[in-house]
Symmetry: C2
Amino acid sequence: MITVEEARALLFDLVRVLPSEDVPLTEAAGRVLARDVAATRDQPPFAASSMDGYAVKAAEVEMHAMFKVIGEAAAGHGFDGSVGAGQAVRIFTGAPVPDGADFVVIQEDVERRGNLITVKDDPGTKTNIRPAGVDFTKGTTIEAPRLLRAEDVALMAAMNIASVPVTRIPDIALISTGDELVMPGEDPGPNQIIASNTFGLKALLEGFGAHVRILPIARDTVSSLETAFSLAEGADMVVTIGGASVGDHDLVGQVAAGLGMERSFYKIRMRPGKPLMAGRMGDAAMVGLPGNPVSAMVCGYLFLAPMVRRMLGLEETLPPFRRARLAAPIDKNGPREHYMRAVLDDNGLRACADQDSSLLSVLARANALLVRPPEDPARDSGDEVLYLPL
Amino acid sequence: MITVEEARALLFDLVRVLPSEDVPLTEAAGRVLARDVAATRDQPPFAASSMDGYAVKAAEVEMHAMFKVIGEAAAGHGFDGSVGAGQAVRIFTGAPVPDGADFVVIQEDVERRGNLITVKDDPGTKTNIRPAGVDFTKGTTIEAPRLLRAEDVALMAAMNIASVPVTRIPDIALISTGDELVMPGEDPGPNQIIASNTFGLKALLEGFGAHVRILPIARDTVSSLETAFSLAEGADMVVTIGGASVGDHDLVGQVAAGLGMERSFYKIRMRPGKPLMAGRMGDAAMVGLPGNPVSAMVCGYLFLAPMVRRMLGLEETLPPFRRARLAAPIDKNGPREHYMRAVLDDNGLRACADQDSSLLSVLARANALLVRPPEDPARDSGDEVLYLPL
């Protein structure tokens, strides 16, 4: 069996960075910038006042100096003339500073009578002028790849970038398998349960920037599985859930192989999630997740989300592991890497009592996965450990 | 001037928790649960095998014990009969444990010849059976309010909750004001700049769960502002940006008052963002943000996002401030609370060099707002400070 790290490397080999597409600026947040974009102008495009006041010549500014107000400059409306000796132009925040002026006396520092102003308070040495291009100049780039935040969207707007090249959204098809499953809202028979994995994984992967299709449940027959795979046509990644254990009823691997799946690996040295399977199926990556709900979700965080980030072209593809101190001791670990459901609060990180991989209620209460390396010894309260925030 | 904390309390008075609506489970992630929901069944609904193996009577399990296989139980297909003395039922993971059996010997521990199995390895004491209802029982609730994560969606699916009561999405109308503004993609005149605040704020607030409409830019005239306000009709919150400073060109407050806005406050003791204005306008909260791009975005994080969370019914409405150590010293602060753009990395938190509130390029490089209380003394490298992650 391979390690989690080896599995992730093999999974990365199954996907490629997707091509780019242009989207309107209003749809760019949360997408990944696919190539560098450049400002089409300087910001500000002119020397601009940063305050409301009077634009004058700096050399003339001193206490009790008097100026004659010869015009006005507002945001959007500059003053066409030039400011001469002894002259001032009334100016507002964001307005272009008129020719001849190189200082703005703020209005709180002057007294105005008719068209005359007198400097009454120490105007200081700050010019209150933002030079042209102080924020950015034409050609300033935002570098790809970059997961675009609200701040980037604001900056691109100011740069007059109305259309943004972003990586296409990965299309993921989810197939849950098993005769025991019915969809939420249906009326399950006595031996049946509700399909939950596809719903949890759809929410999880869409949070990472993918588009996820939930396909009809595949029954434990060759023809039902073949139908499900055919409906996945066009997906960048096909994920099956269930049917990947060791039982006699495990048809997924067999049917996938029959449809041309080249297997990359089967089974990894981890808990939960040991019976993970992966391969390449035509143009798509194919991943077979175990059917226990917690196993499926943990594999979603550890493997599928990094694959999505890789398809999006992001450089940081690994899950964002962090460090915290234990709030309670934990037993030694066995030979497999273990991802324990845990709760992080002000007291530290505490592993949940029941780690059975069927317990969705425990997973929903958890906010962290505590990472245990193989053969990790018992740990005490206060020991520093690695975890993944959920 | 009031403090940031006082302003937030007054802003909270302007909004109410919105009514709820039912959405399909696939649309529930990221929404806020509006009232408790309850499981409609036990999970598992029956005692279920957690392994592939043979269901037998626990009292008969010991090394070298032999059993006759009388049938099979698979997930979705139970065994209808009962397991008697000396009998076993082949069973697979997730299958109902047949009547009469209370132990599953895993298949690795037995040798099978025809219909006979012999226990060949120590079967241990673990029954490998998940009792009915061990995950949750009928009536187990998920408590509102709760921001629904992928894990909650999976759990609700398993509970057979196909339709989820969530708080309606807040509808926010954004109006940028100023003769100097043109929309991204347009060709600005020599005195003009591109409207960026509405685009940044839309991305920011949609990330917090709101729906945001960008209205046409309002010019610095009464009629243009009145038209913009009329287009905001039906919004839960109307946000203007710009025109809230002290200049002669500030019409927003005047026009809003003419339309019946009852002012709550104007100006707060903070940097950036001092000229913040707020009030109630018919059924909507009205907030006037300053026009400097960084001020507008900082006010978005400190005030608008908490108001959105409050409208969604969340209990934790405050921004999620955290603590970090300074990587470089900072000067003493003045009389206003200061939210400095800063970069947090492995070395700690470092305030950006230029804190001018017009600099979007600095904001886009920052990943934190360093919080400075009024009159905060100079701080050294290594001092612990408060910050808000961006």
